[in-house]
Amino acid sequence: MTKIGLEIHCQLTKLESKLFCSCKADYREFEPNTNVCPICMGIPGSLPLLNKKAVEKATLIAMALDCETPEKIAFFRKNYFYPDLPKNFQITQLNADGYENTSIGWNGKVTVDNKEIQIRRIQLEEDPGRLIYEGATERTKVTLVDYNRAGTPLVEIVTEPDFENPHHVRNFLNILSDLLENLDVSDPGLEGAMRADANVSIEGGSKVEIKNIGSFHDLEKAVHFEITRQQSLAEREIEIIQETRHWDDRRKITVSARTKEEEGEYRYHLEADIPWVNIDSNVKNQLQIQMPENISSKKERYISKYNIAPQVADILASDKYFSDLFENANNETNAKDIANMITTDLMGLVDTREKREQSKLEPTHLTDLIEYIKSNKITRTSAKLALEEVVKTGKSLPQIIEELDLGHVSDESTLSDIISLVLSEETKAVEDAKQNSEIVNFLVGKVMQKTHGKADPELTLTILKKNLGL
């Protein structure tokens, strides 16, 4: 049986500052090497100062993944030389002899496609800086280091090898990133905020680790490639050796890592500069109180309380952006309409991260739109146009209706004129309508065409019927 395990690194991007200093956790806007200080640059004499909020956020993740959590946590140094590592060691956590149960969490679980995936452990650590390679030829090649990212709080989530296929992996990652977003600890959509390594083995073969996978999308591909590669080796009776392979982003294949990367050469030892942190039951209770409602109970609530269709409830609950909007816009009586408006009309307008960031939409806009539709101040069709405008400009609904002239044509004489025009143009339909009342709707449609959807539907029908003598 194919076994796949994952090691996911997730930045706590919602934190203000880095894990051990007051530089910004969100380093993305900065010029190279400007989001740095003596601590994250490892200047001699500086000492790490633990960001307690990071410990809380990480613990929240552990609790949400049903992990066991420790009474106190310890940090360790993982020693290795790399230019992106300012101290040439990384402050991380370790499940070592004598220090059992000192990391953020362990023994958790998540259900994916009706199968339980075990979480082996969760730990909190610092992200290294970034290397940027420049120059095309061997002679002009240079490596540049940007330490802006160094020290960003990172949560490592390690699963047991419980996945059986790439699709399964993909579904898990979707569930996990929705969960992290729902906890308000991370923005998984940010470039580099979530990275993963995978280990893959097929029946009878050794475990192969795949590193360097840049995105979740590529992870699925890399796993798929690796399974195929191992199967084809097995078919030809070639031994599958235990090794680390790197994902080649360009060629979309895995390649054997030339250097040996063995666990244990890291000379792990306790980081004495950071005293052990107590996470007593008080702290845990506090966190439990802060814990946002989880996605599945949110979904259940939407279905049972508001009678929303399960598919709609699923979309709303698993996307924090939508569920926040929904919770804030609905006033109990309009819940179903708000839900439908989000999943039918709004979704296409905010389907990317950039669009969401640029959107000027406020929850009250949705409340107003539904209100206007219900009280016949605007048609459904016009509401759609108005929503587009709201997302673009953020202007109030009355203002948009005014500016775009989206209000109902409910003035009887104006409407009568238009109807007369339609009746004179559609002589055949007029005759048919007198026999078959269904045809009246066709005439209503024609009126709507002429008014660009603004005609008050009820009034239109009344006038039409009167004119047709129905």
Partner: protein
């Protein structure tokens, strides 16, 4: 003007108008000028010292608030950072390293109007006990210039002992304050781990080291501890001491106190007769002062030096890994090097003792060997802590000679690392257990000093200094012959 006065006498002198800050500082600079060519306590002097002195004099004259140090000259070991000035750690690798910030202890001294007169010599990265491993040349013992001053805070001890300044700050990882204090006949205190902020101290073995004062008297030690101790938001390992006052009740005496004499440190083969005799004499003195003394055994002390070198090498291997010459360092052409060979080349700047410990630090905690060395050392450490905590439930103090031997001659031990390491035999226990310990000058035998070490339980600096003060009051020592 008497440059040999204590910090408290200096305070009184200024308050009485016996001398001005400027007078004292300029005399101190003259003294340094004349003796430091030979002693080599200082690596760098503060160019602004006289200017600072004038400024403080002006404040005094115009009755402004003046800090408790009144401009007294204090030297600082060159592994403690001061913004904008060079901190070499006694290493060529940091010859040009300018820290962008100031250590907490320096900020605290500055806010009390101390004048940092200069940075003092040390064994490279504080690894050593003679200053022979400084990349900038050795310091000499003012009592006899053929002899080592001890280390690693050797420059600090020399500067105080030779009356080049009033007091000094050193750092103590395995005895680096107490050892040179003993060898140069000054008072050296290693505080409880966490009592003094390490922010700005360049780490060697960060789990056990502390900054502490080297002074002419025990009172001065308490005076400086009052200033430099306390919780620091820039060091997560610091402890809140509620601003306790180490000085006000220092003459409380030690009547009725129970003292344990550590057998392993007085019966060891390595102890000199002169040192043993002085220690026995000190025991009698303690008894005369009304304390009761008994021999006690700390089994783990026998393994303490081995555990100490294993743990410190491991931490040094990690703490010194950052000197890869990428973010700061010295001019060095990167052309033709890939990363690993560049690092090797960069690390060539480190001296022999540092290299020795880095190699050891790469080995003892490594996957195949940690069980035999590093993890065993940690076990010794935790057993030693248990043992000493148990023994201190029935005793107030533990005493021993600070160093089993008197100062040795330059070159005498440099080629024999193991005998070098054994010099630390009596001092490393306080570091491994986090306990406070002080070295008090007790005798001059054959022209060379002997110090007595007193250890107490964690955060018991108040009684510790009272005991040290009581012992000091019984001692009459000759003037330094320089």
């Amino acid at each position: 003007m008497d440059l040999s006065i204590s910090a408290l006498d200096y305070q009184r002198g200024i308050k009485n108008g016996d001398f001005t800050v400027e007078e004292f500082i300029s005399k101190s600079l003259e003294r340094i000028e004349s003796v430091d060519k030979n002693l080599h306590a200082f690596l760098k002097l503060n160019d602004l010292a006289l200017e600072n002195a004038k400024e403080i004099d002006r404040k005094i004259k115009s009755n402004q608030n003046v800090g408790k140090c009144f401009g007294m000259p204090i030297s600082v070991k060159d592994n403690i950072c001061i913004a904008g000035s060079i901190t070499t750690c006694g290493s060529k690798a940091l010859e040009h390293f300018k820290a962008p910030y100031t250590a907490t202890v320096i900020d605290k001294l500055n806010s009390e109007d101390a004048i940092i007169i200069g940075k003092t010599n040390l064994d490279e990265f504080a690894m050593g006990l003679s200053t022979e491993f400084s990349a900038y040349g050795k310091s000499k013992n003012p009592w006899n210039m053929d002899y080592v001053p001890g280390g690693s805070s050797g420059g600090s001890a020399v500067s105080v002992s030779a009356n080049e300044c009033i007091a000094s700050l050193g750092s103590d990882t395995g005895g680096s304050i107490r050892n040179p204090a003993s060898f140069c006949s000054v008072v050296g205190l290693k505080p409880t781990y966490g009592l003094v902020s390490r922010y700005g101290l360049v780490s060697y073995a960060n789990s056990i080291e502390q900054i502490g004062p080297l002074t002419k008297t025990v009172e001065d030690s308490a005076f400086l501890l009052n200033i430099i101790s306390g919780i620091d938001p820039n060091d997560n390992t610091t402890i809140d001491n509620d601003n306790e006052d180490y000085l006000s009740n220092i003459d409380a005496g030690i009547e009725g106190k129970k003292i344990g004499i550590i057998s392993e440190m007085t019966n060891s083969e390595g102890i000199n007769d002169e040192v043993l005799n002085s220690t026995n004499d000190a025991i009698k003195t303690f008894e005369k002062l009304g304390a009761s003394c008994e021999y006690v055994s700390l089994q783990m002390v026998r393994y303490a030096v081995a555990a100490y070198y294993t743990i410190t090498s491991t931490e040094a291997g990690s703490n010194l890994a950052r000197y890869d010459n990428i973010r700061y360092g010295y001019e060095f052409d990167t052309e033709g090097f890939e990363f690993n060979s560049y690092i090797s080349q960069a690390r060539n700047m480190l001296g022999p003792e540092v290299k020795r410990r880095m190699i050891l630090g790469g080995f003892v905690p490594s996957a195949g060997h940690a069980g035999k060395y590093f993890l065993k050392a940690l076990k010794v450490k935790s057993k030693l802590i248990k043992e000493i905590n148990l023994i201190l439930t029935g005793l107030d103090f533990l005493i021993s000679p600070t160093v089993p031997i008197q100062p040795f001659k330059f070159g005498e031990k440099i080629d024999d690392p193991v005998s070098f390491m054994l010099v630390d035999f009596n001092t490393v226990t306080a570091n491994l257990t986090g306990k406070p310990a002080i070295s008090v000058p007790y005798k001059i035998v054959n022209g060379l000093p002997v110090g007595i070490q007193i250890m107490a339980d964690s955060m018991n600096e108040i009684p510790l200094l009272q005991a040290a003060y009581a012992l000091e009051k019984t001692v009459e020592l000759p003037e330094v012959p320089i």
